[in-house]
């Protein structure tokens, strides 16, 4: 996260880290159930086999395992069948864990939005991740507050890419607070009036985040995929 701040442990209990040996943290992910997480499809390019991955949750400092940390192997990786790596469209994957996580105050799923429920432009939401900070990679989870930007306005920042309805933009024209390399798959969450937090976006792409070209970040639009996510969970839960 660029322009963010270090997060208090347990503040974002749905944030998880998708890891693979020997590199360790590769991407962010988000717990949406005790046995299910979401991340983006591009994290699995060239490594679609579930065997090489594990999901670590309840962690704040990647360098210091905490007693609240829970690690699960990945049982299934379900990449969206329409994922297009050339234009980074339909950039979403459902991850099935080999067994349920134990729900604690440090490990807890986030809510999915209702079908058709999109965040309004100019509302403020939060992004989190262990991605690049512009000058270094952090050990501790970072958080940043970003503003939701309409698709039309977002398109004007990206001349060379088409912003589709499967995408959601958030951030600032000046790029002051933005996601960056290593944040991919992590959450963009907004607080609902009742106090709960819902997952509206997954960090997907943007300009090279510490280059001269700035602008908002582009996130996978989770609302667009809610039905698909629910069906994947159903199909992989029952022996049909």
């Amino acid at each position: 996260i660029l322009g963010g701040r270090t997060s208090r442990p347990g503040r974002w209990p749905w944030q998880c880290s998708l890891q693979s040996d020997p590199s360790g943290h590769i991407c962010g992910c988000v717990l949406i159930g005790r046995k299910w997480a979401l991340t983006v499809a591009h994290c699995f390019e060239g490594r679609e086999s579930a065997d090489v991955w594990k999901v670590v949750s309840g962690i704040n400092n990647l360098d210091h395992p905490s007693p609240f940390m829970q690690t699960r192997k990945v049982k299934n990786v379900i990449v969206h069948p329409r994922y297009n790596r050339a234009v980074v469209d339909y950039d979403i994957s459902v991850v099935e864990l080999d067994r349920e996580v134990e729900e604690t105050s440090y490990v807890r799923p986030v809510c999915l939005p209702h079908r058709g429920q999109l965040p309004k432009p100019d509302t403020y939401c939060y992004i989190t991740g262990w991605g690049h900070m512009g000058n270094r990679m952090p050990f501790k989870l970072q958080e940043g507050e970003v503003r939701i930007i309409s698709l039309d306005q977002c398109q004007s920042y990206f001349d060379m890419k088409t912003i589709t309805s499967r995408m959601l933009c958030a951030g600032y024209e000046s790029g002051t607070v933005d996601s960056c390399m290593g944040d991919s798959g992590g959450p963009l969450v907004c607080q609902e009036p009742g106090g709960r937090w819902s997952l509206y976006g997954l960090t997907s792409w943007g300009s090279v985040c510490f280059s001269k070209v700035l602008g908002p970040g582009v996130y996978s639009n989770v609302t667009h995929f809610v039905e698909w996510i629910e069906r994947q969970i159903y199909l992989h839960t029952f022996q049909l």
Binding site: A86, V110, S211
Partner: protein, 376 residues
């Protein structure tokens, strides 16, 4: 290839001999960079001439934004061709080595377009020193020159009648972007080789029609895709499956859509459990009902865990003949199956005349732990 496994830039997980070095990794890979998909070659090799390690890195690079923007100034007809030769260099299929652009192509691009960049205070990309590229026809080395017929606009761009390239999304957007306004001419989907959604006139690719994913707001692109027999129903992917096979707990549509949405709760206050079977709705007879089945039903609907399960007497005053599903005697052996697989139709009605009613509560989500207080 310094480690025993190739990195992403080395094309997936192909194992490399641990003695090889990075230079031996070179392989040809298909071009996926949207900007450069109309080149007279279709494979590339990385790293490119700007030092990017992968096509993904290239796609989000500063130069990938710069060149398409610069093309719109019409500064040089072959600028985009030159840009692509350095962004996704041609890969020689025999040697697997990069084929550079010719020095004259580089010089012409730089001479004609660098000054345009200067006007807006930007600099020509570093790492494009033209002397690194060979002169045309120099010895045995080969280099790339544009074919006079080369398309100067990438597939992401529309070519104005004047020759200028503008972003495809600006075509037919109601605003004039070409200097000759040609981007707003012939704006029907048909003229653009696309299909028009009837409700909002949006244009979609023909490959998106009847592919199982709705793209028009009213789902028009997924209608009338199949003609099934009277005794069949259409799956989400437009296959036809006999109606007696729907919601029987086994998959018959290849996308499993015959087993979707089989279990629901009625909207009434009673929240009666309703199960679809052979394309009709049934209520569930409470005889032999078990709490484990309540857990299964709530979980299957994505509604969490049961908070109450009631057995409601079926009101005879309500009109219509009741249709019942009964718990199968062998339901325990069907561990891991969906609820509809554990129910069956029988020749007799429900003995107790009570139906199952459920209340489920979703698992807690989206709550952060309360901030801990400490006395100061």
């Amino acid at each position: 290839c310094i480690s025993t496994t190739c990195t992403h830039g080395c094309h997936g997980n192909t194992p490399c001999d641990s003695r090889t070095n990075g230079s031996n990794c070179s392989q040809c890979e298909p071009i996926t960079l949207e900007l450069c998909m109309n080149l007279p070659y279709n494979t590339t090799s990385f790293p490119n001439y700007l030092g990017h390690q992968t096509q993904k890195e290239t796609s989000i690079s500063w130069e990938s934004s710069l060149f398409p923007a610069l093309v719109q100034t019409n500064c040089y007809k072959y600028l985009m061709f030159f840009a692509c030769t350095i962004l996704v260099p041609k890969c020689d299929p025999e040697s697997h080595q990069k084929v550079p652009p010719c020095r004259s192509l580089c010089r012409n691009s730089k001479e004609r377009c660098e000054s345009v960049l200067g006007i807006v205070g930007l600099q020509w990309p570093e790492d494009t020193d033209c002397t690194q590229f060979p002169e045309d026809g120099q010895g045995n080395t080969t280099c790339l020159l544009p074919d006079p017929d080369v398309d100067e606009c990438s597939p992401s761009h529309f070519k104005c009648r004047s020759g200028r390239c503008v972003l495809s999304s600006k075509r037919c957007d109601g605003r004039m972007d070409c200097d000759d306004d040609s981007d707003e001419e012939h704006c029907g989907c048909k003229e653009r080789g696309l299909w028009e959604c009837p409700s909002n006139k949006a244009c979609i690719k023909h490959t998106m029609i009847c592919d199982g994913f709705p793209d028009c707001p009213d789902l028009a692109d997924e209608r009338n895709c199949t003609i099934c027999d009277d005794n069949e129903l259409a799956c989400n992917n437009h296959e036809c499956v006999h109606r007696t096979l729907w919601c029987d707990g086994r998959k018959h549509c290849s996308d499993s859509s015959d087993e979707w949405d089989c279990v629901s709760l009625s909207n009434g206050s009673s929240a009666a459990l309703t199960v679809r079977r052979t394309a009709s709705e049934y209520q569930v007879c409470a005889d032999d009902w078990h709490p484990a089945l309540s857990r299964l039903a709530c979980g299957q609907m994505g509604l969490g865990v049961p908070t109450a399960a009631e057995m409601l007497l079926d009101e005879p005053s309500q009109p219509g003949r009741r249709r019942w599903l009964h718990v199968r005697p062998d339901w325990l052996q069907k561990n891991g199956s969906a609820l509809q697989a554990m129910l069956e139709k029988r020749g007799h009605p429900c003995h107790s005349r009570t139906k199952v009613s459920l209340h489920c509560s979703k698992e807690d989500c989206g709550r952060r732990p309360a901030a801990r207080m400490s006395k100061r």
